[in-house]
């Protein structure tokens, strides 16, 4: 280990995490999840009647996710409204969460998950997924498992977890690689896999192992937040 992280973290060290369940009284379920300065909030509405009717599935309820940045969550103001980026991330978030849910008891309905980033310092989709998994559990949606998510990064040749924005802008050697992963907790089933950068195929196993350890830590934070709201 030769690389020094600017905030003094070890390669496998996550930023301080914070999770709180029940942050939006109107919602059927809600949660906040943060990695360091990245803060995500999520609300769940449903199961509720799905309109338009032609989207209804008589065999099962469906999941619909919406992810976006608040306009002031980034230094260069983000134009409000959906972008191509947010539409892609909404969809991969939905795919990441769906395997944890069982909506077969709720035919013709939709479960809406709304995720917004209040403050962005990289890792927004993974923080959003962690918040959304908590909000779904808080809403009492039947779930087989929780989903935990983290981005593994590669800075030149070093693997590190949970990159922040300044690390994402790293430009030396093999440059920065961002490898966001989500998984069903305590399994080897991965529900989100994305990547951009430069990584040797033979190092993917190492990435998954780092993600497993980090996700186990995130899972504990999520469980604790859920217990707190139940005990209240």
């Amino acid at each position: 280990m030769t690389l020094k992280r600017h905030d003094g973290r070890k390669a496998n060290e996550l930023r301080p995490m914070n999770a709180k369940v029940g942050v939006i009284p109107n919602a059927d379920g809600s949660a906040m999840f943060s990695f360091g300065k990245t803060i995500a909030i999520a609300a769940v509405y449903g199961p509720r009647q799905l309109h338009p009717q032609h989207m209804q599935n008589p065999a099962t309820g469906i999941l619909r996710c919406n992810y976006d940045l608040l306009s002031f969550s980034v230094y260069d103001r983000k134009k409000p409204g959906p972008s191509r980026r947010s539409q892609e991330l909404s969809k991969v978030t939905q795919w990441a969460l769906q395997p944890a849910l069982d909506l077969s008891e709720f035919p013709n309905t939709v479960v809406d998950v709304e995720i917004y980033i209040i403050q962005a310092d990289a890792g927004t989709r993974t923080a959003g997924i962690n918040a959304a998994a908590l909000a779904l559990a808080h809403a009492g949606i039947p779930m087989k498992n929780l989903i935990s998510s983290v981005a593994v990064g590669k800075l030149d040749t070093e693997l590190v977890v949970d990159l922040d924005k300044s690390e994402e802008d790293f430009e030396e050697g093999e440059g920065p690689t961002d490898f966001p992963v989500a998984k069903l907790a305590n399994t080897s089933q991965y529900t989100l896999l994305q990547l951009d950068g430069k990584i040797q195929p033979e190092r993917v196993s190492e990435v998954l192992k780092l993600a497993d350890v980090a996700c186990a830590e995130i899972y504990e934070v999520q469980k604790k937040a859920l217990k707190e709201v139940v005990e209240q």
Binding site: V92, Y190, Q200, V204
Partner: protein, 271 residues
């Protein structure tokens, strides 16, 4: 060709066949269909190509236009990758605002091309800090018979390999009456290609036809190139809700170098 969701009977049928390693067209599960490429399909473009992968056909064109650099990269040209799923190419595609597939396709092509650094954008500066070339790569499927993404990236690569830089007049506007001033600044040995793997039941399959693709549960695509003699994954996206387990991911990743060499061997005669 159907434009409906696959029926349960079709899915069960494919599942059984794939488990026995069989396909209707006699290919193995990881075999690509026949590939042909043509270049210079539009002489109005700075570079262009047509790729046929089985019955899937995609056109890609490269256009260059003088533009202003982005504030965070004043010393580099710009790269914009876009594409459209024209109703011409399939009964599945409709006109109107882009659906998710039409949003995802160019974004994945952009990541694979950009992260490979095949284009040396620092050589596309006209006047430092003020004027740079904007490289537009536009992709149009002409006939969709499955695996559009991999075919589209092949078309982009071949189009880039043939692309030239047009001449400018004294006002820094493109002058098509003058001969081109040079070739596109590409790194000779970086060639981004993508490899999509599809899962149905417990079987992984490559290069599905449209009919096969409609039965699949999930796709994972890897953008691959070679950098300093090493194979590099430049991009990855899992599309679809079904999870992938560790063994599947490791199996796919281990196949990438071999598949990359095979595909380069089949493509390089075209440029």
């Amino acid at each position: 060709m159907s434009s409906m969701e696959a029926s349960n009977a079709t899915i069960e049928n494919f599942k059984r066949m794939f488990e026995q390693g069989k396909r209707f067209d006699g290919r193995g599960l990881f075999d690509l269909r026949q590939i042909t490429a043509e270049t210079k399909v539009s002489n109005s473009a700075e570079g262009s190509a047509r790729i046929r992968l089985g019955k899937t056909e995609v056109l890609a064109g490269v256009k260059l236009a003088p533009g202003t650099p982005y504030p965070d990269s004043l010393d580099k040209g710009n790269l914009i990758v876009s594409g459209d799923l024209l109703p011409l190419a399939s009964p599945r595609f409709e006109s109107g605002p882009p659906g998710f597939e039409a949003i995802e396709l160019p974004r994945l092509l952009d990541r694979a091309i950009r992260e490979s650094h095949v284009i040396d954008l620092s050589k596309l500066v006209i006047k430092p800090n003020e004027k740079v070339w904007t490289v537009y790569i536009d992709v149009y499927p002409i006939n969709d018979d499955g695996n559009l993404l991999d075919a589209a990236l092949m078309a982009c690569l071949v189009a880039l390999k043939t692309a030239q830089i047009p001449a400018l007049n004294e006002n820094n506007l493109v002058d098509y009456d003058k001969p081109a001033t040079g070739k596109m600044p590409l790194s000779a040995d970086i060639m981004p290609l993508s490899f999509s793997f599809f899962k149905l039941g417990n079987t992984l399959v490559m290069d599905p036809t449209r009919e096969e693709e409609e039965s699949m549960e999930v796709r994972i695509t890897f953008g691959v190139s070679k950098w300093n003699g090493q194979y590099m994954i430049n991009s990855c996206q899992k599309s679809g809700a079904a999870p992938l387990n560790r063994a599947e991911i490791e199996k796919i990743v281990a196949l990438l170098p071999k598949k990359y060499e095979e595909l380069i061997e089949r493509l390089k005669k075209f440029f």
